[in-house]
Structure formats: structure tokens, C-alpha cells
Symmetry: C2
Subunit: 278 residues, 2 copies
């Protein structure tokens, strides 16, 4: 049921990521907005972006958006910490539809959450190098201190299924990255990469239950849901929105990784895109 006079917008939401980590945001988006149709693009042929230059990240992100915009979309969600941190502004100014990233919602959630104004941040090399999360947090509350660490091995570990508590390698690597952040006495930790939610139990065990973990993809999904509702551009309620998946490498291997990030089996049809043609 929806209110009288509400505007309905049946157009899909476009979501993209350097690979399949962004599906953690899709999971939350479809939980909050089950009626929305989602077109997902994962750049599996060029993943990971996290070790690349800002210039290359922007070039790839522009191609990703150009592909998504071959569909008539109501909004674009950058479900990737690296792209959000390095390319949000140009993507916003170049596209006439709303473009959401994960940095602002994660920064906002961290500022709301922290009591002692000491916030930890982990992300890829390119995300941390950009300083984007710190800029958002400092704008919201200049009194917050951010202690950041780039974690280049976490994405390969997660993609190889090594993220569960008890995995000695994942635990050792994570503890090395987090040690200075834990020592700094943060009460809030931003997971600035959409791969990291899979590491939550392991990270929480190391940091302690009292440290709040901010899932940037989840926060982004909530912001998208609330803004679309406020603008009265949700899809008609009662239907189940279809999800379509596109990747730049072959579809083989998609199901295994996708089910990891979506935490359910994916029987969806997956199509391949020649992304460098965009």
C-alpha cells in the first residue's frame, strides 16, 4: 500500500563495484527495498581497483557508469569504497541522475556512533590515500580523530574464502593492520570496503564487542532507501524487483563468489559485458 498522490518510479537502480564485494550492499538494498529492480555491474575482468592510481580508477569508473546508463535508471549506487573515495565528484557532475557513494553514509554513521570521538578506518590503498573518509568526517565533526590503515591483503583473502574466525592467516593479517587502531582506543571502526563485512566476526573478536563496526555498503543502502522514499520515487510496493547481473569477465565463477557476498544462492542469469568498449 502506498499513499495517495505518491510518485512511482519503476526504473531500476544501477549498482556497480570493481568486483563482487558490492553485492554486500545489494543484499541490504534488497532487504530494505524489495520492490526495486536492480542492475548490478561487477568489473570482474579488472578487479581489484584498490591498488591502482586515482587516474585509472576514474577511467574505469566512468566506463562502468557508461555501461549502467545504457539502462534507463533512477539512480546509481557506487557500491565500492575505492571508487567512492576517488571518483564520486566527477561521476556526480557528469551524470544527470543521483549518484550515491559509500563514503558519506559511512562517515555520517561513524560520527553519529562515536562517543569518544576516536574513529578507526580501514580500506584499500587507494581509498586511504584519497583521504576522502577523513574529509567527510572532519566536515561533520572537526573534533573527531581518524586513525586509518590501508589493508591491501584483505580483499584477496576474502575472495579466497579466508575470512572466518579461526583462519590463522586471516586473523594474523587482520590483527597486524588493526593493531595501531586498537591501540589508539577507537570506539568505532569504519569498514571502508564492501568486501570487509565478511570479516565482521573476525574483526569484532579482535577489536572487542564495545567497538562499533560501520558497514559502509549497508549505510549506503540505508541512505539510498531513505532518500528515494523522501523523494517519492520508490517502485510500486507489493512486487518483487528483478535483479540483473553483469560482469566483465566470463560468468563462470560468478555464482560461487556472489553467494558468498549475498549470503544466499544466486541462480540469476549473468551476462558478460565488454567494458572497455564503453
Amino acid at each position: 500500500m502506498h499513499r495517495e498522490g505518491i510518485l512511482l518510479d519503476k526504473r531500476p537502480i544501477g549498482v556497480f563495484d570493481s568486483g563482487l564485494g558490492g553485492l554486500t550492499a545489494v543484499r541490504e538494498l534488497s532487504r530494505l527495498l524489495p520492490a526495486e529492480e536492480i542492475i548490478y555491474f561487477g568489473d570482474t575482468g579488472r578487479v581489484p581497483y584498490g591498488g591502482r592510481s586515482g587516474e585509472t580508477i576514474l577511467k574505469y569508473a566512468r566506463q562502468d557508469v557508461a555501461f549502467l546508463r545504457t539502462f534507463d535508471l533512477k539512480a546509481i549506487v557506487i557500491a565500492c569504497g575505492t571508487v567512492s573515495a576517488n571518483a564520486l565528484e566527477p561521476l556526480r557532475s557528469e551524470n544527470p541522475i543521483p549518484v550515491f557513494g559509500v563514503v558519506e553514509p559511512a562517515g555520517l554513521a561513524a560520527v553519529k556512533e562515536t562517543r569518544n570521538r576516536r574513529v578507526g578506518l580501514i580500506g584499500t590503498q587507494a581509498s586511504i590515500r584519497s583521504g576522502a573518509y577523513e574529509r567527510v568526517i572532519r566536515t561533520l565533526d572537526p573534533a573527531v580523530t581518524v586513525i586509518a590503515a590501508s589493508c591491501p591483503l584483505l580483499v584477496p583473502l576474502v575472495e579466497n574464502g579466508r575470512f572466518k574466525p579461526g583462519d590463522c592467516v586471516a586473523e594474523t593479517v587482520t590483527a597486524e593492520y588493526l593493531e595501531p587502531i586498537k591501540k589508539a582506543g577507537v570506539d568505532t571502526l569504519v569498514l571502508g570496503c564492501t568486501h570487509y563485512p565478511l570479516l565482521k566476526p573476525l574483526i569484532s573478536a579482535y577489536m572487542g564487542q564495545s567497538v562499533a563496526l560501520i558497514d559502509s555498503g549497508e549505510q549506503c543502502a540505508r541512505m539510498v532507501a531513505s532518500l528515494l522514499a523522501r523523494q517519492d520515487v520508490l517502485a510500486p510496493a507489493g512486487r518483487e524487483g528483478a535483479h540483473r547481473y553483469y560482469v566483465s569477465d566470463t560468468a563462470e565463477g560468478f555464482a560461487r563468489l556472489a553467494s558468498l557476498f549475498l549470503q544466499r544462492d544466486v541462480a540469476a542469469r549473468v551476462n558478460r559485458v565488454d567494458i572497455d568498449a564503453f
Copy 2:
């Protein structure tokens, strides 16, 4: 000094890899053939190839070769286990100059080296999946048993500088991958990826001094040197061949990784290539 009547070929040798691991082969090539001019292309904007499909690896390799062939080359060296294992035949048939890969020389060296006819093999997922090393070895000696393991985390570990004995994470991951190979009682182990030579001390400590390690890039460099000499197409002796480096991401970061793989400081000029235009 060179013999009377020898043909000289001043044209450079083109060398490429998915990234900078192939510089371990360049190091050996320039040791054996200091007079040769080398043009190196590292696809740093799309590295790593090892987890991608055969189809995508072939597409990227064709672009890499197309770029290299904008120079007038006497030969092309695929200094990458993943490309050699997945794309050698099409690259050979499509190009009118000699194309060398690392699989054949490594397989040949392993068959020559083994006494007990039990050979271990490690490489990327795409290299192991291709079965290319086994095919070469079985053709040379059908009595050799190959015990293979794909090692998806070794490239990210090496690229993050984690390859030295005493690095607990590198030691744990390497031991996990190598355990079944060690248990199988091999006397020879093929390092089927040009990143792996950096792990030699660590691998040797785990496998034991009695196991011979075959460095595929080094073996490839030796084969190239011997074939060019046999065909009398070496560069004029006495000069020092210039090396030129091209990458597909920005040149930043090249020096650090390159000096890791070349084991000397690189002050070379590095140029960027828009590889998807090829």
C-alpha cells in the same frame, strides 16, 4: 668480438607480463644478453591475470602483443606463466616473429632435473587449470608424475613485500599450498609464475635443499638466449642494450615494485600506455 659473417639483428626483444613479476625474466635475459635492447610492457592497470578466465587472458594478451608490435621487434617473450599457459598457441600463430613462453622451458628443465620422476608445480589458478605445464612434461616424458597446486594468494603476498623467510603469513600460506606436493615426495618443483622467484629462500626452506626449484622466467631467458644465438640474430656485442618500460597504470609505484623484481634500483623512464586502445 663476433664471428665473421654472423648476422646481426639490432631490433629489440619485446617482453610482457600481466604486471611486474616478468622483470625476474628480464633480469636473467639482460645478464645473459647484455647487448640486447629490451622493450618491457607490464599491464599494471589490469594485473593480476591469474584469477581470470582463459578468454579474458587471451583478449588482454592480444592487446599486450599488439602494443609491443608497434615496435619493430625480433622476438616476443611472454614473461608470465598465466599467459604462457593460456594463450601461447594463438599468439604464435597470429604473429610472424618468434614468440617464447615460460611453460616449455620450465617443463623441459624439470624433466631434465628430476631423478625420481615426481615433479611439483605451483602457479596461478588459471595456469594450473589450463593443464599446460603437465602437457609439456608428459610429452617429454610420460613417466613423470606432476603434482600441481594453484596458489592464488602468493602473487598478492609478493606484491605486498611479504616473501621473506620469517614472515609468518607468507610461511603459513606457502606451507599450506606446498604440503601435498612435499608429501608426494617430489625432487623438483616448478615455480610456474614469474612472481615466485622472490619466494625461493622461503620455499626452499620448507621443501628442503634436496628439492630443485625451477625458475620458469630464468629458464625462458636461457632458451631465448640460446635460440637467438643459434639463429645468429643477436645484437652486436660490446654495446649495452637500452631497456624501455611501459605500463598501463600510471608510472607511480613502478620503481618500488620494479626494484623488488629486478633486484636493483630502476631509474629508467617509464611510459604509460592506454592498453585497451590496442
